[in-house]
């Protein structure tokens, strides 16, 4: 039952801390851009900045902090399916509400 091949886990892919710190700095800069956008350009421009920048921040967290970039592709596909399902819910609901 116990054979050394299955028992010993694969060596984890340990990323250097420097990379995480760079991602963190990028996240702070992007937060500053979002906040600056809404403070200096309130209204449509500010919202547009948030709509563009926030998904970028989310992608950085998912790819590096949550390791998705270094996992098997199946994890990314699973994630995209979940986001896809959510988008269908949101899309169909708005389709209903906005066209009443």
């Amino acid at each position: 039952m116990s054979n050394s091949h299955t028992a010993v886990a694969e060596k984890p892919h340990v990323l250097p801390d420097g990379l995480f710190i760079m991602v963190w700095v990028a996240l702070l800069v992007l937060t500053a851009i979002t906040v600056g956008g809404s403070v200096f350009f309130p209204g449509k421009v500010g919202i547009l900045v948030a709509v563009i920048v926030t998904p970028v921040k989310a992608t950085l967290i998912l790819m590096y902090f949550m390791h998705l970039k270094y996992e098997k592709k199946a994890f990314t596909i699973m994630f995209l399916v979940a986001v896809g399902v959510l988008s269908v819910f949101i899309g169909l609901t708005f389709f209903d509400y906005l066209l009443r």
């Binding site: 919202i47 926030t54 959510l86």
Partner: protein, 212 residues
């Protein structure tokens, strides 16, 4: 969540405890998807009501303290950094370093909740809190905004508290050696959960604080 399978009765001498990081991680991600749909549903409600009460939402959002919201974003982003560094430290078998980073993450999450507490109590003193008359007397759209604000940041806050409880358990497990460089799964899954909590907050910030 624990990948500990040492309960096996027929343990042969020299038996190696089986851990399957891939399966554990898959399970954690599946759980995170349910979280995604939970918060996604609330974002959807927010989106629909905002599109129906555009100006009321903008007006109500002006009441929120942007500085506090942004500070909390920085606190949570930093806690995500210390969390990911705690994981990689344990993977490199640097137990002490891992424990310090995990303690740092706990302190930052506590900071987040303290700031949240001051924010909520300021609103409470202004009569803006679910169940208070002032909230009911507000124009319809503004009442909706604040109810959604308390509901969504409240649910997020509960997630922070649960995260802190799990982190404390993990902290003791690392200390006792139950989690180590060759068996770090539970710390890794806790990290994934924590990053999701961070991820949700990243969307809450522009929706509630930056809508003016």
């Amino acid at each position: 969540m624990s990948s500990d399978s040492s309960h096996a009765i027929d343990q042969a001498p020299g038996h190696v405890v089986h851990t399957d990081p891939e399966t554990g991680k898959t399970g954690m991600w599946l759980f995170l998807f349910t979280e995604l749909l939970l918060f996604g549903g609330l974002f959807l409600i927010y989106g629909v009501y905002r599109s129906m009460n555009e100006s009321a939402f903008h007006h109500a959002a002006a009441e929120l303290n942007v500085a506090m919201g942004v500070t909390n974003t920085i606190v949570l982003l930093t806690s995500s950094l210390t969390m990911v560094m705690a994981v990689s430290a344990l993977q490199r078998n640097q137990v002490k370093r891992s424990l310090s980073f995990l303690t740092g993450t706990l302190l930052l999450s506590a900071t987040f909740l303290v700031i949240k507490f001051f924010e909520w109590s300021a609103k409470y003193h202004h009569g803006i809190f679910p169940g208070q008359d002032h909230l009911h007397e507000m124009p319809h759209g503004e009442g909706l905004f604040f109810n959604l604000y308390f509901m969504m940041t409240g649910l997020h806050g509960i997630h922070v508290i649960i995260g802190m409880i799990v982190m404390t358990v993990v902290l003791f497990k690392i200390r006792s050696g139950a989690l180590a460089a060759d068996n770090y799964g539970m710390l890794e899954y806790t990290g994934l959960y924590w990053h999701l909590v961070d991820l949700v907050w990243i969307f809450l910030l522009p929706l509630f604080y930056l809508t003016t």
